[in-house]
Structures are given as C-alpha cells and as structure tokens.
Symmetry: C2
Subunit: 387 residues, 2 copies
C-alpha cells in the first residue's frame, strides 16, 4: 500500500466498511421492517424516522470533504463519517450527507436512552444546569450546594449493592486512573499498619524515589481494555495501535478464561480453563511478591468487550475475589463498558453472586459521567495522617 | 492532633483559613470600595453585586453541614465551602450560607470572563450545543458536521504562532497524557527512520514488553505541576499529597531557575543560575542516554504556578529549545495554567521569542476545554505504517 495516498487509503478502508455495513444493514432493515409491520410496535420517540435511508456511499461526498479538511488539523484515522447531531433522534443518526442510519453502536455505547431524549434536552435547558456548565465548579474545593443531593439521588441511587462511596470523574480513563490510585493509597496505608507516613517517605515521593514511591503494581488480564491514559493503558492489552511506542511498567498480566460454547456441553472443560486462569493469578501474586513488587490489586472487566466479547462464569469472579483477599489486595471491577443496565442487571457483576461487593467499580459511558464507587476503606486519608 | 476528630480538624483548618481570608479580604474590600467610589468604574456585569458581603463564618453552618454529609460519600479534604452557582455573577461568588465573595481564584483559574457570562449562558441554550452535550459525540469516530469549522474558528484562531494542528481533550491532565504520548510516538518513529514497526514490536507492546514498549522518558523540572493522572503525575513534583504511595517511573528531573529580584540588580547571578539549570538539563540528557533510557522530550511550564510562582527569562527557554533540538527531543510547553491571556499575551511562551514554536502546547482551564496544539510532525501515523 506504499504508493497509495492517505486519502485513497482512507477511502479504500471506508468503502470496505461501507460495503460490509450496507450489506449487513439492509438485511437487518428488511427484517426490522417486517417485524415492525407485524407487531405494530409503538414509536418510542415522537418524530423518530420510520426507517433508515441511505442515499450516498458512506462516507458521502460531504463527509469525505470534511475528513480531508480535518486531516490537515488532526489525525482522522478513526473517523467514519460526520454527523448532524441536532437532527439525531431516538435510535436514528443523521449523517452530514443526508443518510439516516439506525444506530446500533450509540457513540461507542455511551448513549443509554437514544439521541436527543426530550427529558435530557429539558434537563440541559434548566438554569442551574446551564450555570454548572458555564461556571465550571472545581468540585473538590467548591462543590455546588446541591452536590450531596445529586450524588445521593443520582449516582448512589444506582450504586452497586454494598458500595456507599462515590467519586466523580470526567471520563472512563480518568475513572480507572484514580481508582487505581485509590488502590495504591489503600495498600500502602495498610502496609504502614497505622503508622503515619514519615519524613523520608513524604520527601522522596516528590521526586519519584523510594520509599515514598513504592514498587507496587496492579494485575490485569490479557485482552483487557481499561483506557488510554498512561495508568489505564498499563492495564490495557488489546491492539498494538493503542500501545506501540509508549514506556509502560512491567506489571503482571493473567490469562482471561477462553470458554467453549454451548456452556452446558463444556462444563468440565470450562471449569478446568477457569481454574487454570485462577491458578496463574495465584502464581503471579507470588512471583511479584518475590520480586519485591507486590500486587496491590486486580483490575478486571465483567465482560471483556473491546478484547472480543469474552465472558467468564461467576465461579471465576468469585475465585478472583477470594485470591485478592488472601493476598490483601483489592478487586477492581471495571464497569465502564458493562454498567448501566446493558447486561440485564444494572451492574454486570451483580450476576456473579460475589460474597461481598467488589472494592472499586469505575463507571463512565452510558452513565453520562465518569467516576468510581468504592468501599469506605478506600477513601484517602493521607492528607490527615501526614499533617 | 491524634485525639481530634476528623470534623474538628476540618473546622480548625477552615477557621484558620477563614480568619486569614477575612482579614486580608476586608483590607482588600476597603481599598476596592474607595477605588470604586473615586473612579466610578463601569459595571462589567449587569446585576453584579455592588460589593462583597460576609454574613457568617466561612464555612458557614450550611456548608459545614454539607461537608459532614459529603464526608460520608467521598473525601472532603480540599472542600472550602459550598456554592450556589446559579446565583454567581461576574466577579462574585455566592456561597451556600448567603455570603457574597469577590472571587480572586475563579475555580482554580478556569473562568476567563466571570461567572454566568450572558454570552456563554446564551451559547449553552443553543439547540446545537444542547444536542452536543446530550448526544455525547465520539469525536474521534463520528465528529459533528461543524467540527472542522469549530476547530478553525475557535481553537486554531488563537493557536500559538507556528502551530497549525490541534487535538481536543476533556481536561488538563488528559491533555498532558496525550501530548506526552504524541512525543513518544514521534520519537520512536524518528528512531525507526522510516521503517514501519515490525511484527515483534507490534506483538510485544501489547504486553508492555520490549521492543514495542521502549525505555524512553520525558524530562521534567523540580516544583513542576502537570496534573494527577499517572502519566502527568510522573512529571509533577510539588506536594507529597499528590505523590505519596504511587508507583512512578524513574525519569530525569532538572532544577528550574531560582531567580533573584529585582531582576535588574541580579542580571549576572540570574544568568549564572539559568546556565546552571541548562547545564544540568544537558547532563541529564547524556546520563539518561547512557542508561539506555533516552529523553524523548522536555515538559516545562512557562511559569511554575502551583510550584510557587517561579519565573525564568526568555534566555532559559531559548536554551531549553536549543538543547532539545541538539538531542532530537521535543519541547512541550504546558500552558494549562498560563494560557488564554493571563500573562498579557495569549500564550505565555510568546514572551520568550523562541526561534520557532514549541513542539506541543497543552491547554485547559480558562480555554474551557482541554487539548493540545502541536506541530504537524507530531500527528500520529502509526496506524498507517503498521497496516
């Protein structure tokens, strides 16, 4: 492909996408139209189009022109087409070329109840919400008067059972970054066993030196995706395009179970596979402890989404929780992708019948804000101890 | 302080803040009232209070109650008091207890033109902007049709001279994270000298292993503040409360000049001090190269803000740019705090008469969005090369 121009390559890629998409799509639409005619489904969104309508290749001429313009300003490698968001409604997305698409992907699964939902549009028009956007509250220093009620009525009202604390963040990656930091603070506080940090620790950490900067780590899984900032990226092992050329810590990575289907035909094999993975987790705890770089926590997705729709049984997650406890380590279940109802329960890990709540549960995407739920013991107290 | 309850300690801290604040504040207000009476200053914001009014201790009883409630949900160590943002106007902040404060701090310097500015309030009410907030565009995949124009008319219209590319981000820390990643990609691409990444590099990076995961680093300065996610935190060296207990890479840290004032009386001493710092930067480049962990870039603030209002002369920054070029490394000037007009030029580094633009300029805060400007050569191309 060396002789192809960037634009030609983009278009080749886009047209491939387009061909596959249109073929799958028209099959789907045909099915849906029949179903709709048969069931006389109620319209969920007033004014929603009666069906999709594709009038140009995708990306169409206007999107292609915009991609070329954008390419002079920033990387467009992932751009599919441009969208008229103020026309989008319910399940339908309107592109810049007048194509109307039934959207199965909802902005990388971040829209929980459809485009331009009238209640959300109304909420955004409320003066107190407009004031929040314009006045950019520094939430950690000067929170708004209604902050406690908002946390209670919104985020804590849907907290995973057993978790009563929550910290908000702006996005999924930051939610992982700071829940990881909460793990490290908690782990070191326990190691100090109630002793406040000493002068040497307080001084050395400023310049990334021991002992204030400890050698501790978080265990992640092969094919995991937890985000793309440096701390979250350390736990991410999906595509090279996310990882190449970045200095990253050498932290332990365990295998995630590769189950065989149908599940009821492979009960024994799958149990063996999950035991193999759990045993490796145990071994890695031991190996990293011997290295003098102990594992402070495990980060795991309830379903590996980006990594290939990989599932494991409740047995596996129960086992992970047990191993974490045996090793005085935290269990972080990353619900950025799976949370907010997409698995039939509000939080995917509610399917696992864990003995107790996971220690930390980061969220973002469909929650329409970032953050993480956590157990009380993970609330930082260092600024008191160190005074 | 071991016997004090958390609440007592908070209140002690808050009351100290309050005493100092009120004393300085009433002096200031007295001065301002006199100045206003003398000058008959025009009112900048229609409806702005004629002056501050403090009617309770700060935090007042309502804020104190809310702090205690919030403490059951999350850490409140940094909370000063609660705010009624929908009452805030212009230069005045309204707290939850009816106190009206002249705000010198503007939400950690993030509000460029006052609270509830009528033009910003009007912008937020526009249907296309409401649709943007509600529909959460995945900007990298499906940008809105007006995206290119917004980048051109807004962010590129105020780009630092010589920088024509921009990438948006949600906050300052993420802007540092991803501009740092742009440095690493650029550095390794140059090291490969045009050769596409090979199979081994593409495979090994997925599990944080060499050669796809290189040992390269970014040089920062003592007393620097660049943010609190793991990658930005690696460059931050201010307070232990930001750093303690986190595993962080061993990257080089150079001294930032400690100038003596008045400048015109210490010309020789300050030149020597800046030369000392520049020489250390040179030595660190050499030292880390010999370690096999070369420095891919330098990150520096034009003014160290959080670190103590530390300034250096144009000579120092010109020297940094020269040293970066001699070492095939990038120069990142972090304008998160200093950008958007707060030093008398739109970007603080415009004071430095650099030979050419810095390679990357992250921004956030008063820009009311995050992101970074960069030279064309820093646009990632790896996803093409690796295909």
């Amino acid at each position: 492909m060396a002789n192809m121009s960037k634009t030609t390559r983009i278009l080749k890629h886009k047209n491939l996408f387009n061909d596959v998409f249109k073929r799958q799509y028209s099959d789907f639409v045909r099915g849906k139209a029949t179903a709709a005619a048969n069931l006389k489904e109620p319209v969920l969104f007033h004014g929603e189009p009666s069906g999709p309508s594709v009038v140009t290749p995708i990306p169409g001429p206007r999107s292609t022109k915009l991609i070329n313009e954008l390419e002079t300003i920033q990387n467009t490698g992932a751009v599919q087409f441009f969208v008229d968001y103020d026309h989008c409604l319910g399940n339908y997305l309107f592109d810049a070329d007048g194509n109307v698409l039934l959207d199965m992907f909802t902005q990388i699964a971040t829209i929980p109840i459809g485009y331009s939902h009238p209640r959300l549009m109304a909420a955004l028009r409320k003066p107190e919400n407009i004031a929040s956007f314009v006045n950019r509250p520094a939430l950690g220093c000067l929170p708004p008067s209604n902050w406690v009620n908002k946390l209670k009525d919104v985020l804590l009202a849907v907290a995973p059972p057993g978790l009563t604390n929550v910290q908000t963040m702006q996005c999924g990656a930051c939610s992982i970054e700071h829940s990881q930091k909460a793990i490290f603070m908690w782990y070191q506080r326990h190691r100090r066993g109630g002793r406040p940090p000493n002068e040497e620790e307080l001084r050395s950490c400023i310049t990334n030196e021991k002992p204030g900067t400890p050698e501790i780590c978080v265990m992640s899984f092969h094919k995991a995706f937890h985000g793309r900032t440096m701390g979250a990226l350390a736990l991410t092992h999906t595509k090279w395009v996310h990882k190449l050329d970045f200095p990253q810590p050498n932290w332990p990575i365990a295998p995630f179970p590769a189950l065989q289907y149908p599940l009821d035909e492979f009960v024994r094999e799958n149990r063996e596979e999950e035991d193999r993975c759990l045993n490796t987790v145990r071994e890695l705890f031991e190996k990293w402890r011997l290295k003098g770089n102990p594992v402070a926590g495990i980060a795991v997705e309830p379903v590996q989404c980006e990594g290939g729709d990989n599932h494991a049984t409740p047995y596996f997650f129960q086992g992970l929780q047990d191993i974490a406890k045996e090793n005085d380590a935290a269990l972080l279940i990353d619900e950025v992708q799976t949370g907010c109802g997409s698995t039939g329960k509000f939080w995917a890990h509610e399917h696992f019948n864990l003995r107790e709540a996971p220690d930390l549960v980061p969220f973002a995407k469909k929650m329409m804000t970032g953050g993480f739920y956590f157990k009380k013991d993970f609330k930082p107290t260092e600024e008191e101890e160190g005074v």
